[in-house]
C-alpha cells in the first residue's frame, strides 16, 4: 500500500469515515455492506466495477427523496485531510451525495494525492473542464449551531468510502 493511501485511510478514520479496500470484483459487495435502506446511485463509469443490483441508478427525484443512502464516485482523495473530491455530473452526483443521510463514495486507490498543494495543482490544471463544480468533502455534514456538535445537518450524517484496488 502506498504511503499516501495509508495516510488517507488514517485521516478518514480521524474524520469519522469508515473505509473498505477491495479488488474490483468485490466492489458491489463492499458497497452493499455500507448501504442502509433504499439506495440510489450514479453510474461509476469504471470498467469491471459494478454497483450492486439493489441500487437505483439514475433515480427519479421522488426516489431520491425516499432514499436513505446515495452511492457516487469520488474523483480523488486528499491524504492529509481525509477529503473526498466529489465532481458534479449530469447524472446528479451532487444531489445523490447530498440529499441522503448516508453517502457511500467509490474511489480508485490510484486517485489519492498527498496534500492540499497537490490537490490544487490538479484543480488549477483541470478547472473548469474536469472539476468545474467540485466539492472537497471531509467527513459528514455537521453543525454546532444548536448548542452541541451534531453530525448530519443538511447533508449526510454518515460517509463511507470503498477504495478500489488497482
Amino acid at each position: 500500500m502506498s504511503i499516501d493511501l495509508q495516510a488517507f485511510e488514517q485521516s478518514l478514520t480521524s474524520v469519522g469515515v469508515a473505509a473498505a479496500r477491495v479488488p474490483p470484483d468485490e466492489v458491489a459487495a463492499a458497497i452493499e455492506q455500507f448501504t442502509t435502506g433504499p439506495t440510489v446511485g450514479v453510474s461509476l463509469d469504471r470498467d469491471g466495477v459494478d454497483l450492486p443490483d439493489s441500487v437505483d441508478v439514475d433515480p427519479t427525484a421522488a426516489a431520491l427523496e425516499e432514499a436513505t443512502t446515495g452511492v457516487t464516485p469520488a474523483a480523488f482523495g486528499i491524504a492529509d485531510y481525509g477529503s473526498l473530491v466529489l465532481p458534479s455530473t449530469d447524472g446528479g452526483s451532487e444531489l445523490v451525495s447530498l440529499f441522503v443521510d448516508h453517502h457511500v463514495a467509490v474511489l480508485d486507490e490510484a486517485d489519492v494525492v498527498p496534500d492540499m498543494k497537490a490537490a490544487f495543482e490538479r484543480f488549477a490544471r483541470d478547472i473548469p473542464e474536469a472539476y468545474g463544480d467540485a466539492i472537497i468533502a471531509t467527513g459528514p455534514s455537521a453543525t454546532a449551531d444548536m448548542g452541541a456538535l451534531v453530525k448530519g445537518a443538511h447533508g449526510p450524517s454518515e460517509v463511507r468510502v470503498v477504495v478500489v484496488e488497482a
Partner: protein
C-alpha cells in the same frame, strides 16, 4: 442606559455562552495549527496573495467579469447597498412572490438584502442553522462565523417550542438540528432562487470557493435554477491555485477545524440537473442544467478603503473570526457589544469604519485594548490593533469637550484635535506620573480621598473601585544616580530603559533588574529617557505617541551608538519599540532600537546562554511559582524565555493560558469597562486559585498584569526578575 450598564446586561444574558464557545474555538485553533508543517509559511503566502490581489483589484474585477460572462453568467458591480439591492430585486422579479433560500453571508447582512426582497413580497429563508435561529428570534449575529453563538441550546429549544409548538417539545441538540433540517429542507425543495456568499472568487476561471459545514450552501445552489452570489469586491483572488493556503487556514483559524466539512469549488453557472423534487417519472439525468447566475460584487466603501493607507489591510480579512475568538474582551461580551452594524471583533472596527463610518466604529472600538493577541492569530497578518488605534485617533478628532481646562495643565499633548478628557488624561500619563512622584506621598493620599475619587470618576471616568498606582518618591533613575557601583570586566553594556511604571511606581522591579544584570557582569546605566508613548497611543493619540517615539529614539541613539544594549522591563514598551515604532518612526530610526532591545528576562536568558555564571544569583530551590506572561510579550514570542530562566534557577513553574489579564493599561481603570476587565480577570483568578496553584508564588511581567493580579488575589504578585535577587 450607560455604557457600563449595557455591557453588564449583555454579559449577564450572553456572556457565558459566548465565552464557552469562543474559548473552545480559540483552543481549537492552537491545536489545529500546531499540526501544520509550515503554518507561518502558509500565512505569509496567504498574506502576499491578498496584498497582490488588492493592489491589482480594478484589473481583477475586469478579468473576473469577462470570465464569468464567458462562462454564461453575469457580473454586477454595485456601488452601495441600495444599488446592490435594486439589482437583486430585478433579478428575483416582482411578477410573483418567490422563495429565496440563502446560505450564510455576512456581506448580505451588510446590505440588508432580506429586508429589500421581503418588501417586494418575497419569502427569504436563511438556511444556515445559526442564521435561521436568529431569523426566527429576530436577532442579529453576535459572531461573524457562528452567528448564534450567544444562544444556548436551552434558549434555542425554548424559542422553537414557543414559535413552532411541535407535538413533542424539542430538547437535545440532535432534536433541534433534525427539526430545523426538516423544516428548511422543504423550503429548499420549493425554492425559486438560491443566494450564497462567496469566501473567495478566482479571476482566472470564475470559480468561487464556499466554506461550509452543514451542506446548506450546496443544497441552495443545487435545488434552484437561479443562483445569486453576493461578495465584497475584496473576495477576488487572481487564480485557482491561490485558494490552497486559504483552504488550509480558514477553518483552523476560525473554529479550529482542520478543514470544514465542505469546500465547494463552484464555477457558475453550476452544472447538474435542475430537478422538480416531486417528479416520480423522470430520471435525474434527463433534467436540463440551465441555471441563471448573477455575481453581485459589492463596493460599498471598499474601493475607498483600498486608497486609505491605514484601513487598506482590512480588505485582506478572510472573515475567519480568529481575532474575535482570541480576544479576551470579546470572549466576555461577544459581538452584540463588540461589534457594529454587521461586523464584530477586532477587525470589525476596520470594516465598520470603512463601510458605515466612524460613528458606528467609535461605538465599540474602545473594547480593543491593543493587547495584540489577534496579530499572531490572523491568518493574513493584519495589524488589527493598529487599525483600532487609527480609528480611535480619527474618532478623537470628531469629539468636542468643554472640560479640557481641567486637564490642560496635565496634558501637554501634540493632538491637533481635542480627544475626550479621559483619553487626554490617560494619554498624558507621563506628566501625571512625574507630578505623582514629585509630590509623593501627598499625591497618593490626596488621590485616594473619597472626594477626589468621586471627582475622578465623574470627570475622568476612573472607576472608584480600582486602587490607584502608588507613586514612589524616589524614582528608579534617582536611585540609580545615587549609587556607586562599578562592574569589573563587564561582559556587556546595557541601558536599562526606565519605563514610566518601573521608574515611578514599580521601582522595586527596576532595582532588581539592575542588581541581576550587574551580578551577571553587565555594565548598566539608567539614564532619564522619555516614556515610550504607549499611554497616548492606547488612547488613539497618534501624534503625541509619535512625539514620544522621536524623543526616545533621539535619547537612546547615543547609547546604542556607544555599544549598549537596551533592556526593557515593561513588555508593552518593548512591544512599542519592536512593533508600533515601525508605524511611528522612519526605518532608520526604528530598526536600531528594535534590533538592540531585549525584554529583561530574555536578556538574562541570553547572558546565561553565553556563559554568564548563574551561581552568583539566588536559586529557587524548587520554589513553586505561577507565572502569567504579558499579552504583548507573548505576541513577541518572549514568554518562553522567562520560563526557561526560572527553570534554570530551579523554580517549579506553571503558566497561565489566558490571553490577557484584562487590565490592559488604562482599560481596567475606566468606569465603563471596569466590570468587563474584572470578568476577563476572573479566568486568570480561577487559574491561579485552583488546588495546583493556590499556594504558588505569583509572578507576572507587565505592570497592568501585576496591578490586576494584585486586585484579583490575596497574594501580592511580583516581577520574575525579583525572584532572582531574593
Amino acid at each position: 442606559m450607560s455604557k457600563a450598564e449595557r455591557l453588564r446586561e449583555i454579559m449577564a444574558a450572553e456572556g457565558a455562552a459566548v465565552e464557552a464557545n469562543t474559548q473552545g474555538f480559540n483552543q481549537g485553533r492552537y491545536d489545529s495549527v500546531a499540526d501544520l508543517e509550515d503554518y507561518e509559511g502558509l500565512k505569509d503566502e496567504a498574506r502576499s496573495i491578498k496584498e497582490d490581489a488588492i493592489e491589482r483589484l480594478p484589473e481583477l474585477i475586469d478579468q473576473l467579469q469577462e470570465t464569468v460572462e464567458a462562462n454564461g453568467g453575469t457580473v454586477y458591480v454595485a456601488e452601495d447597498e441600495a444599488d446592490a439591492n435594486q439589482y437583486m430585486r430585478e433579478v428575483v422579479g416582482s411578477d410573483s412572490a418567490k422563495t429565496v433560500v440563502k446560505s450564510k453571508s455576512m456581506t448580505s447582512e451588510e446590505i440588508e438584502v432580506n429586508e429589500a426582497l421581503e418588501a417586494d413580497g418575497h419569502d427569504v429563508v436563511e438556511t444556515d442553522l445559526g442564521e435561521w435561529v436568529l431569523q426566527v428570534a429576530d436577532e442579529s449575529p453576535s459572531h461573524i462565523v457562528a452567528p448564534a453563538i450567544h444562544k444556548s441550546r436551552e434558549a434555542i429549544a425554548e424559542l422553537f417550542n414557543d414559535v413552532f409548538e411541535p407535538d413533542e417539545p424539542l430538547e437535545t441538540a440532535q432534536e433541534l438540528t433534525r427539526f430545523a433540517r426538516d423544516m428548511l429542507g422543504e423550503r429548499i425543495r420549493d425554492a425559486d432562487v438560491g443566494m450564497t456568499g462567496a469566501n473567495f472568487v478566482t479571476a482566472d476561471t470564475g470559480t468561487m470557493a464556499l466554506v461550509t459545514s452543514e451542506g446548506n450552501a450546496r443544497k441552495t445552489v443545487a435545488a434552484t435554477d437561479t443562483h445569486i452570489a453576493v461578495a465584497g469586491v475584496e473576495k477576488i483572488v487572481p487564480s485557482v491555485d491561490d485558494l490552497q493556503p486559504f483552504v488550509e487556514l480558514i477553518g483552523r483559524s476560525g473554529t479550529g477545524q482542520d478543514i470544514t466539512s465542505y469546500v465547494s469549488l463552484f464555477t457558475p453557472p453550476v452544472d447538474g440537473p435542475v430537478v422538480a423534487f416531486d417528479d416520480d417519472e423522470t430520471p435525474l439525468s434527463a433534467f436540463g442544467d440551465d441555471r441563471e447566475f448573477h455575481l453581485v460584487l459589492i463596493d460599498n466603501g471598499r474601493m475607498s478603503m483600498r486608497e486609505d493607507d491605514d484601513l487598506r489591510e482590512t480588505l485582506y480579512c478572510i472573515r475567519c473570526s480568529a481575532c474575535s475568538n482570541v480576544c479576551a474582551n470579546f470572549q466576555q461580551v461577544g459581538g452584540h457589544a463588540f461589534g457594529g452594524e454587521t461586523y464584530s471583533g477586532g477587525i470589525g472596527t476596520g470594516w465598520e469604519a470603512g463601510i458605515e463610518g466612524l460613528d458606528v466604529a467609535g461605538e465599540f472600538n474602545d473594547l480593543c485594548t491593543g493587547c495584540s493577541r489577534c496579530v499572531d492569530a490572523c491568518p493574513v497578518g493584519i495589524d488589527i490593533p493598529w487599525i483600532n488605534t487609527v480609528v480611535r485617533d480619527r474618532v478623537n478628532g470628531t469629539s468636542e469637550s468643554d472640560l479640557d481646562f481641567l486637564v490642560d495643565g496635565l496634558t501637554p499633548d501634540e493632538e491637533e484635535t481635542s480627544p475626550p478628557l479621559q483619553k487626554r488624561f490617560f494619554g498624558n500619563f507621563e506628566t501625571v506620573t512625574k507630578m505623582g512622584s514629585a509630590l509623593a506621598p501627598v499625591s497618593n493620599w490626596l488621590a485616594g480621598t473619597t472626594l477626589s475619587r468621586q471627582a475622578m470618576d465623574r470627570f475622568l471616568g476612573v472607576d472608584s473601585r480600582r486602587d490607584l498606582p502608588q507613586f514612589q518618591r524616589e524614582t528608579l533613575v534617582e536611585w540609580f544616580a545615587d549609587r556607586d557601583v562599578t562592574v569589573e570586566d563587564s561582559q556587556r553594556r546595557a541601558v536599562l530603559y526606565p519605563d514610566l511604571y518601573t521608574n515611578h511606581v514599580q521601582v522595586e522591579r527596576g532595582k532588581a533588574a539592575v542588581r541581576v544584570l550587574e551580578a551577571l557582569g553587565v555594565d548598566v546605566v539608567v539614564p532619564a529617557i522619555a516614556s515610550s508613548g504607549r499611554a497616548p497611543l492606547s488612547q488613539g493619540m497618534i501624534s503625541t505617541a509619535r512625539e514620544h517615539a522621536e524623543r526616545v529614539a533621539a535619547e537612546l541613539e547615543p547609547h546604542i551608538q556607544n555599544g549598549r544594549d537596551v533592556v526593557v522591563v515593561e513588555p508593552s514598551d518593548l512591544a512599542m519599540f519592536e512593533r508600533e515604532y515601525e508605524k511611528l518612526l522612519d526605518d532608520e530610526l526604528q530598526e536600531p532600537i528594535a534590533q538592540h532591545s531585549y525584554e529583561v528576562m530574555e536578556y538574562v536568558f541570553g547572558l546565561l546562554e553565553n556563559g554568564a555564571d548563574p551561581s552568583v544569583l539566588g536559586a529557587g530551590s524548587g520554589e513553586r511559582v505561577a507565572y502569567h506572561s504579558h499579552c504583548q510579550q507573548r505576541t513577541l514570542g518572549l514568554e518562553e524565555h522567562t520560563v526557561a530562566v526560572l527553570d534554570r534557577f530551579d523554580f517549579d513553574v506553571v503558566t497561565s493560558d489566558v490571553e490577557c489579564c484584562g487590565m490592559a493599561g488604562s482599560f481596567g481603570y475606566k468606569s465603563d469597562y471596569y466590570e468587563v476587565s474584572m470578568a476577563v480577570g476572573d479566568d486568570l483568578r480561577e487559574q491561579f486559585t485552583d488546588p495546583e496553584t493556590a499556594d504558588r508564588t505569583v509572578v507576572a511581567s507587565g505592570t497592568s498584569c501585576l496591578e490586576q493580579l494584585d486586585s484579583l488575589l490575596e497574594r501580592r504578585p511580583t516581577h520574575p526578575v525579583e525572584l532572582l535577587v531574593e
